[in-house]
Symmetry: C2
Amino acid sequence: MSSQNATVRQPQREKGRLRVAALLDAAQQVFAEDGFDAATMTAIAARAGASIGSLYQYFPTKEHVADAVLARYAEALYQRMQALQDASPEWRIDQLASELFPTLIRFRADHPAFGGLAESERGPALQATGIRKHMRRYVAEILRPHAPGMDTEQLEAMAAVVLQTMKTAVALTNEIDLPHRPAVLAQLQQMLALYLAAQLPAST
Amino acid sequence: MSSQNATVRQPQREKGRLRVAALLDAAQQVFAEDGFDAATMTAIAARAGASIGSLYQYFPTKEHVADAVLARYAEALYQRMQALQDASPEWRIDQLASELFPTLIRFRADHPAFGGLAESERGPALQATGIRKHMRRYVAEILRPHAPGMDTEQLEAMAAVVLQTMKTAVALTNEIDLPHRPAVLAQLQQMLALYLAAQLPAST
DNA sequence: GCATTTTGTGAGGACATCCTCATATACTCC
DNA sequence: GGAGTATATGAGGATGTCCTCACAAAATGC
């Protein structure tokens, strides 16, 4: 499916690769500030110091831009998840939980456009739903060594709870006028630990 | 601040009130299906069986329509919260929790446009942020009789956790491909109960 | 029935956005 | 230097949406 329209190009020279990178950086910022719907191609091109024509030379559509941004994010995200999955068998479950928590919060803080793009139903559906599924799988696989005999369906249900709780934590992080924020986040984390402990047998 | 533009009218006759009600019903549906940004005034008017001019006679702006819809929702929501607050001193905290949970889930199920309108930063900001604050206050007041001596800031922080957990539950309810959904929701509820028990002294 | 007020209508102006295309510039390789 | 390719440009077409406005219809009171 790597067919490309005649007017859409892959960068062939260093200059092109730099431009694409600049365009994606700009898109990242604009999406983060305005969200997918309100972001405009003109604004993205302008912030990258390029013309609209240049933007459309590499991305045939606003959705394609968003998908490219998400693909970039996904790569970074999957790396961190893979590291956690590799380490999973050797760690205790509560250690995993208290590692996963700040990992995802930091990721969301470092990639402010991610939430708006990944959670919106409208817009870049291509990558977005795929990312959600991948993340559920990763978390399920991280949990698996600590839940011997549990089937994949149950694991993925638990993973959904874990991920949604993470999303909750991110939402709280961004909430204005919230007193005792660090304490609240700590309580959320503890709440999640209690949940995991209740669902999994005693860890080694 | 009840100043109104010359071209914007309050309904004076029964016919007008009916039309406004029909318009709000239609807006509810369209917002629920398309979200605030993608919803169009033309679609709202059409679904209400009215003309665009008629719509603009009562609502000067799309935001005003959304705000009116939210105001309607808020009224229904505050009623239920007030009932819980009134009953709070006489109930045990775990009873309150297991009442609050389905109450909010049912509310969201009955008012499918609520989430999209209340949670979006862009769009109807007028009502949306106000509703969030009101809800925090309600939950804080519901918790207060069971947390003697706890100051308002701490109560509102707990309320934020409770509300965000509710949002998690709603998100899980709407998640497709989630196996064991009822069991998962029950677990979430139990998780919240554990959290509350840990934060509050033993109830009477 | 007639005057007044409220309600209803839909064509179209103003504006913004996505995207195209013909053309110009920069680069590479011989 | 010149041919060939990749990159750059921005005016403008197509489209869609918000909202206005001049006027028509209906309801009310007398």
